[in-house]
Symmetry: C2
Amino acid sequence: MHGFTLHNYFRSSTSFRVRVALNFKGIEYAYQSYHLRKGEQRSSAMLDLSPQGLVPVLELPDGRTLTQSMAIIEWIDETCPGPPLLPSDVYGRARVRSLAQMVACEIHPINNLRVLKELETSFGADSATVATWFRKWVDTTFVPLEKRLEAEELTGLFCHGDTPTMADICLSAQVINNKRFSVDMTQYPTIARIHERCMDLEAFNNAKPELQPDAE
Amino acid sequence: MHGFTLHNYFRSSTSFRVRVALNFKGIEYAYQSYHLRKGEQRSSAMLDLSPQGLVPVLELPDGRTLTQSMAIIEWIDETCPGPPLLPSDVYGRARVRSLAQMVACEIHPINNLRVLKELETSFGADSATVATWFRKWVDTTFVPLEKRLEAEELTGLFCHGDTPTMADICLSAQVINNKRFSVDMTQYPTIARIHERCMDLEAFNNAKPELQPDAE
């Protein structure tokens, strides 16, 4: 397959998720960067692709576009041959989606760049206050996520069994993001173990922010 | 089918989503309420069901539990006979999930009760400031959501074609939530039209907060 373009940004956590999924399925893609701090995602070129003006956007070979990282990953998993990113049983899929959404719906949105900026603008939050906010929402969900992964017998080398899924993609994206705000990962040994295992895989490693063409 | 228990709260927007999906598939369930403002979701009974201490939790007839509303809805759609909540084609599914996630990942998490409480605690935000915050994040995503629904030809009587999907469930949950903060819906005629159409359906109407046994 060819002709995909990923509109994204090296540091964007949701962009990382899609890069991993594409790598995992062996899909080559053109890399188009939008510098978020410079507001390039609100350029007219981007708004033509997606009225939300958010990365990532996956442009398909036929010119259609997909938005929202979790929807894009489900599309990739449904259409592209290669190792699956969701289990074959329905309960397993629900568990993986639930673990993924603990990150995607409970941590990431509240700690998104535009929310952190709003704290500065509306409440005069300084960088220490912003970091406290960031860590608060990570801990609020990482504590029960660690508990689940530690206790549930379906956890294996990865979040669900011994092969990576959508849950591992979200977990790793968040752990990478955490580094910018010095989250103490010693509190989360299971999450840390799974993240390390993920980063040993080429699909994850090659999606890392610092290896992208627009990395600073 | 019988033996389902929905652990939820009448006013919870994510609980509404799951109630609609259950109603839509004609699944009967026991209604177990947790008063969020009183912190009942952090009771040991709830934490045994889900370490996150968040509603909704769907308890299955076999005693297993599902968490995260979007994962629960996918499970319901995959396992329960009845009208589908996702289109049969892969691009359609990606579009519906993307529209749903615009609400589920871009609006709801930032406007969740616990985030609004944190604004009060950490920044001394008063109720007017909290309302401004709430409306800001609704508008940030409703403007492009309206634009997409208005412009994209796959929109029909509902978000995607002429039958309701997961996208309509999230859209309606958000519009209902908006009422508590006086969001001006005249800016969003397409969203408003779709919401009204949804609320004409029994599955949506019967899931309304004010019709639940714990309504105040």
